[in-house]
Symmetry: D2
Subunit: 354 residues, 4 copies
């Protein structure tokens, strides 16, 4: 497998299986001289942590991050930052029943066919546990680009949506509910819906919206490394993501140019922002906003038909402790990936003009 690195100058490489001894990552290219705020990093980890509320998995993983290198006296030295998170809660026996079984809509079958040999325990490398490493690196990236405000929140759960533009929301309320939806009335409905579905052993999808504010003009590289192309890749690389749109997104397809174009103000800002803060792949200084679609979790606590390695269909039922809906925990992951993209482009952008 290749493909475990993300970024050009600010580069994260992650490793680890959900039931190996540890997961972790290496950040290469973080500039020297950055004082690390470990509290802020921890806060993001807690937001992603399993077992945080009644609507997430009840699995408990402390997810203590241990830095091994690259930080001296609390400040980055310019050398690679390596970190590990031990897998302290490995109940491998939980997974013996899936050793030779390919669960529907999981990566079991494709990993087996691609690699021939796989760690089947808990999804192995395909487990969403890997995203903890993204949150660690994202927390460092956020500190590197601290003038940019990155805010993600749950914009829909199943068919329950926020029906307001993000400008009308109070972002301070995002963390006020366990579902991370700043519209508290809608949040209640979402929580209720998740609990309802959870009781039946079923799961729900949803969307996460992310807003990037105070982004300087000029981030992103034209042609193949457009800012939104890399943001899209970042988001689509998160487990369970099925779609990405920015600015007016799919809605733009049914608009006319005269409706969609953002007219300028004299200071270079625009009167509307259907473009979503990016023109020609380069940030224009307006808010960047995008929406990420998450499918419903594939592991059900219901009887389901699976395939075994001998080509027989078998009945199986998820025994583990799984999230009925991933979006509340996906919020910090979306933010982290956005931060990685922005930090990388911010560094690259230092080299664009003589």
């Amino acid at each position: 497998m290749a493909g475990n690195s993300f970024g050009t100058l600010f580069k994260l490489t992650t490793f680890g299986e959900s039931h190996g001894s540890a997961i972790g990552g290496v950040i290469d290219g973080c500039p020297a001289g950055l004082k690390i705020d470990f509290n802020s990093l921890k806060k993001d980890m807690v937001r992603r942590m399993p077992g945080q509320s009644k609507i997430t998995t009840s699995r408990k993983e402390p997810d203590a991050v241990q830095f091994l290198s690259g930080i001296f006296e609390g400040i980055t030295t310019g050398t690679p930052l390596a970190f590990i998170i031990e897998n302290t809660n490995q109940k491998s026996k939980d997974y013996s029943h899936i050793k030779d079984v390919y669960r529907p809509s999981h990566a079991d079958y494709t990993f087996e066919k691609k690699f021939g040999h796989r760690d089947y325990r808990g999804g192995g490398r395909a487990s969403a546990r890997e995203t903890a490493c993204r949150v660690v690196a994202g927390a460092i990236a956020k500190q590197l680009i601290k003038d940019i405000k990155i805010t993600a929140f749950v914009s829909s759960v199943g068919n329950i949506n926020i029906n307001k533009p993000y400008q009308d929301l109070d972002f301070n309320k995002i963390e006020a509910t366990i579902v991370r939806c700043p519209d508290l009335h809608v949040a209640d409905k979402m929580i209720q819906k998740i609990e309802e579905v959870k009781k039946t052993g079923d799961t729900l999808g949803g969307t996460v919206m992310c807003v990037l504010q105070n982004v300087p003009v000029g981030l992103g590289e034209p042609v193949f490394e457009k800012l939104h192309a890399q943001l899209g890749k970042a988001m689509l690389s998160i487990n369970a993501v099925k779609g990405f749109e920015y600015g007016a997104g799919f809605c733009a397809t049914s608009m006319k140019g005269s409706e969609h174009n953002d007219l300028f103000n004299e200071d270079g800002t625009t009167q509307t922002n259907l473009s979503g803060g990016i023109q020609g792949g380069i940030s224009n200084g307006m808010d960047i906003y995008f929406r990420v679609a998450f499918k419903p979790v594939a592991t059900l606590i219901q009887q389901q038909q699976a395939l075994n390695s001998e080509g027989n269909l078998v009945q199986m039922k998820g025994k583990g402790r799984h999230d009925p809906c991933v979006v509340p925990r996906a919020v910090p992951i979306v933010e982290a990936m956005a931060a990685l993209v922005l930090a990388d482009f911010a560094l690259i952008n230092k080299t664009n003009k003589i």
Copy 2:
């Protein structure tokens, strides 16, 4: 500017401004021994070519592709394939009126701010003319992975949609209409709509759907280089694209897991394919399908407010010959980018097992 290369092993680097002497590209990593079918390449170029029908720009560009290297006696040698397309139809005077003007929802302003010095003629490097090079490289890539069938078509124009699953469409009819929509009844409506809007000097958005058939199991690299993440990036890097979804896409977000999961057949295929042929970032052998959202073209043949470099709002009107709707010409570009992604992953996949 960095960011003009795409791919890891099968790597395309493009160059050129719309009004420079030529655009072109270099393909590095194309295996030796591939007999090039230049006719098939030319067909794709013709499908992208301006001036092909009454619903595209009337601008004529022959777009003759000249290969400079990497092919000997009609067969690739393993060395880089360089090609150029001369800009024979440069009417630079057409653009003198925008020298100091930033058009709304164009890349003029962001290029100026990022680079300080830019070729303003016809959008320069930000011009969609650059996509011609993608079609050239994509045509080579298609030949490298010739067992995979790549089919894109227009699935919506404005709010006129195909209301059928792609399985019910006859792909042979795609090229039967100038709008490249295989549902001929819908196609007629689309054409009518585009002509209507064109008359007013306005433009329309739309969507392109793409289906990848006969993809072997195992393409794509887990974690950051998931097959759909790279497809998403590829599509989002095309001019005017605002969104990407694959499989059930955004619809998946309002489904339950029990509805969305694709149950297996005994041969490893699945009964449904809401996943869109990819599990854990790796192709599972089922059809891969995705949808790409294009915004309406920003250049209007209407009076619009623009900003000049001195910070004054000015009135301007597009004088050039522009597409009222890009999706018919975007079809071969979407296919080309899909081919680049698949060819690259097909090469990488040769190294995944001992």
Copy 3:
């Protein structure tokens, strides 16, 4: 700092400072299905280990390698192999005297000027301790290309040289002496010389020769990624290396073409091998051999003039336990780097022809 990764498909990323909690690495791109021989890995680690003989540093570091991921039931899974080596013998107090001092011919000054903030303990990231990670990854790489025989040995210490072509040496005797020189008579003189110089607190340079046998025809990529260019970079990236030559090397510069050309045999082998097994950057199936120059260790157990951060010249004396000559311990490092280069090119070469 960027630059902590090596390789394109078989890619090693290393991290860690000599006096942090651990050093380690991540190997991405190792194919699945490789059964790891941990004994053979351990043997290479022991050959690099400090404290192995009277002519190396007396410092003891167990250098126990702990794998965290990528191996399941003893076999690689295709996912990244991460490993750490804890720094159990960190005597940080040993280094407090150099906190504000730049030692001559060390990296103290350049790290300070480049990064502004550095871990000064034991050389930090610039310490040769980092090479332990290369040996780990090299041991895996060797197993991936197990048909290729990689043999390095000490070819000179100071001005004591082996005066025979490598074909006349018995490689089985390399490990028979602590200096890793297969000519036992010369080895004795080398050991004696090192002991002599060690007594005075001084140090010695030397050369390591490496022979790659049974390399298949076709490894290496023309132009910038020539096999010898990448081997050269690999070797020059090892601490203390000042030069690299392959085949006839610098001697070739005073030869005529008629003397230097290697005439063919009918089976494609050559009668002579002054080219060193590489033509046009691609292996030709003959032995590849090269020589690596190591400068004398810069840390002396003698009084020396150093510079402090306030711009004053100060007297200092190395207090640590240092090698009087690095070449005996460099032998497995040279082999490891060669293995990384070959493994990477062997994977890339799978994609060169259709």
Copy 4:
């Protein structure tokens, strides 16, 4: 073939065969705002040009460089600079006699075995003609880092050496002789020697020395991307290069640490400079100097034994017009590659500290 790109941020990709329609390259990552001095570029091209004197090949190639993109009104725009050099002097018939013949110590055999299909005319992609593109890109790179003085010269031809330290040479005299050796007395002997050998149809090797002056402290990235490691790779990637050493180089191996260490002056400069201006892979502000070994040209105007594709040994004689000794023409190539390395590291270095 992969491997036709060099550099991370300032990245050159080259293409083209000696007897195709053109060779050329693309420079991606050149910052915007650089005013190009085409005269200075042309001077370097003329220094590399065949047919420049009686001691080079008599082949005439005008090597006119045509830029296709990335420069607008004489100034770089930040977009990729593509350039081509047409092959106007293709005498393909000259090479028909080698169609099925592998010349000794050429890349014919290895290309054939690696790729299966090759352009045999004039060495195809393996021809040193490719280095013209390096000189073009190097000339741009030099202008980007214009404060650094890059000077290469011929330090030996066969066994005729300059026996002075470079500090005692007058670099202004380098271009005063056709052999590019600033010690005019030695230059005469070199020229005489080359003419002598040329008469017999034989060839000679030699060395090129390069001195980089006024390099800022801090260029180069520790561990795998050490400044000298990348310089070494750059040089070893030039056709016919067999060795690289910097600073005291191979001589350092027979020195003691007390002799080799460079003691500091109070201003951070050093009293001696055996290290060659680099510590720990990072420039320290002192002169960087290195030596590059070139083997004798393999094409002789003598009868030689070659191998044909049917496994028979055949007699052949070089008919083309070839250099009796490459080093005079290699001087600008060495400089160009050094410039590419320095420009890339200068850009990367902008991102090393917050």
